[in-house]
């Protein structure tokens, strides 16, 4: 019975992952471009983030981005339609990371994504929301999900 349940849960997780994989393939089938800018829009006036449109001086960057130091290049520009400020970052020396790197958390772009998201939260709300402490027990499906969750802050379509 327990096995049947685990199998059903695994099928569910697989269906979710399958649907996701279907969408994730870009239309042209081109691999993710490691040089592409990663961007978040922060709901704050442009002046507040960094002076003007010039590449922001690192010292004035929110901490999560400042921590990445010289590894990244950052740009700040106003968002259209009063949507705030676009905060963009890119690795100075982009390197293509494979699936294995991404699963292991060795893709440096994951760090950039997390830093951008954290910076946005800090600027908008003054803190970065922490997840609840888990109440879960280990199961095979759970382990896979646990890994996906650990990477979820650095993955996604940002």
């Amino acid at each position: 019975m327990q096995r049947a349940k685990t199998a059903a849960a695994a099928a569910t997780a697989a269906a979710g992952a399958g649907a996701a994989a279907w969408w994730l393939k870009s239309r042209s089938g081109a691999p993710e471009n490691a040089e592409r800018w990663l961007v978040v829009t922060v709901n704050r006036p442009p002046g507040e983030l960094a002076a003007g449109l010039a590449p922001a001086p690192l010292a004035r960057l929110p901490e999560p981005l400042a921590e990445l130091g010289d590894d990244i290049v950052v740009e700040v520009r106003p968002a259209p339609g009063g949507k705030g400020t676009e905060l963009a970052a890119r690795l100075r020396d982009p390197r293509r990371a494979g699936v294995v790197d991404r699963v292991r958390g060795n893709d440096p772009r994951q760090q950039v994504r997390s830093a951008l998201r954290d910076a946005k939260s800090l600027l908008e709300t003054g803190e970065v929301l922490l997840p609840d402490l888990p109440t879960t027990r280990p199961t095979p499906v759970g382990e896979v999900l646990e890994l996906a969750t650990r990477r979820a802050g650095g993955e996604g379509r940002l």
Binding site: K5, A15, N43, V128, L129, P131, T135, G142, L145, T149
Partner: protein
């Protein structure tokens, strides 16, 4: 503390888990006075929502007493009796500022999972999978409430727990369907589903000035409750041809606004049900969208269809042609509760919106697995089971 944990498909148990505490400066901890089952939980129980882990605490519709506040909480103090919105919103991102709270940019701590599934993630929600933040649920003695200034609302004096608890999720969801579905004075509105959400949508449509509201289900006790407690007309879809009936009721035009409050496990009559069920079981589709199909078909030309029922992924036999050729507006959303909760609590206090009748079964948290059995299998006339963790 004690909490109701999801252990696997159709497997719930009450377990001892560590107490929650303040994790962020804007958090509060709430001692739960009442929490209730929601149709959305049935999708978790059935295993249709991915990203659940054994041991996850479920439940998202609740009310309680504040027992601890973080240093940056300014609108609440220890001892306040509050309803907490099921979705978590920061109040300061562009989405929250535009009253689209369930789309909050800052409250989902696992954005990558839902971004992969849907392109962008929703905000966080209590007890509703790791794709939606992995927050602990409300069927517990205590819950940590992030962004407490935004998400907790004082309950007016004189409103009892069993009425106020539905202002957390069911009532604002129903209201949103009627409001964002564009219900106007004089409209005819059809609502699929006479669960708590459908009943609330029907009542909202009436309060927004609809001239005629028709709610559709098959369970006699729910149809009866909807007629008596909500005060609208009802149709039993197993006893009549819903499309024909709606045409006759609306002078041949069809309803102006159709609100779907059924979700991905819709029941259906005839072969279509087995087709959907087989495809859902084999994961070729994640939904059984029978009610959405019917709503799109029945809606008048140029009308509006609002999907409140929860869906996870891909639907089959979706009537795209009817939607396009009839010029329909199709919309859906997870609930933007913060936008409506104070107004709804006010209406509950004034007696304009009846919610207490939804709590057909009340029991201690220890009996929650039984509560879910009653609710899931619609036994003993159960519309909602309400748990009282504080005894």
């Amino acid at each position: 503390m004690k909490a109701l944990c999801w252990q696997g498909v159709n497997d719930l148990s009450v377990e001892e888990v560590p107490d929650p505490g303040i994790r962020n400066r804007q958090d509060a901890v709430v001692k739960v006075l009442a929490s209730t089952t929601c149709g959305s939980d049935l999708h978790l129980l059935g295993g249709y929502i991915p990203a659940m882990r054994a041991g996850d605490v479920i439940g998202h519709e609740f009310l309680g007493e504040i027992v601890e506040v973080g240093p940056d909480v300014s609108r609440h103090k220890v001892g306040d009796r509050v309803v907490v919105c099921s979705f978590i919103g920061c109040g300061r991102c562009w989405y929250c500022e535009n009253d689209l709270w369930s789309l909050c940019d800052n409250s989902n701590t696992n954005p990558g999972i839902a971004q992969a599934m849907w392109g962008y993630e929703t905000g966080g929600v209590f007890g509703y999978s790791h794709a939606m933040g992995g927050f602990r649920g409300a069927h517990a003695e205590y819950v940590r409430v992030p962004y407490a200034d935004q998400g907790a609302f004082p309950v007016p004096e004189g409103v009892d727990d069993a009425s106020a608890v539905f202002a957390s999720d069911a009532a604002p969801t129903g209201w949103m369907g009627a409001d964002l579905g564009g219900v106007k004075p004089g409209d005819t509105v059809a609502v699929w589903g006479c669960g708590a959400v459908g009943q609330m949508a029907a009542r909202a449509a009436m309060l927004l000035g609809a001239e005629r509201v028709v709610a559709i289900d098959r369970l006699p006790e729910r149809l009866d409750m909807t007629r008596r407690r909500i005060g609208c007309e009802t149709l039993d879809y197993t006893a009549t041809d819903v499309g024909a009936e709606l045409r006759e009721l609306t002078g041949g035009r069809g309803p102006d606004v159709c609100i779907e409050a059924v979700g991905m496990e819709a029941h259906d009559t005839g072969p279509q049900h087995w087709y959907d069920k087989a495809k859902q079981m084999t994961r070729l589709q994640t939904e059984r969208p029978a009610a959405v199909r019917e709503a799109i078909h029945a809606c008048r030309k140029g009308g509006s269809v609002f999907v409140l029922g929860v869906y996870a992924g891909l639907a089959d036999k979706f009537p795209l042609g009817a939607m396009m050729n009839k010029g329909l507006t199709l919309r859906g959303a997870q609930m933007h509760g913060h936008r409506y909760i104070p107004m709804l609590l006010d209406r509950i206090a004034k007696g304009e919106l009846s919610t207490g009748h939804l709590a057909t079964h009340t029991m201690p948290l220890d009996e929650a697995p039984k509560g879910y059995d009653l609710f899931k299998n619609k036994k003993d006339g159960c519309v909602r089971a309400v748990f009282r963790p504080a005894g």
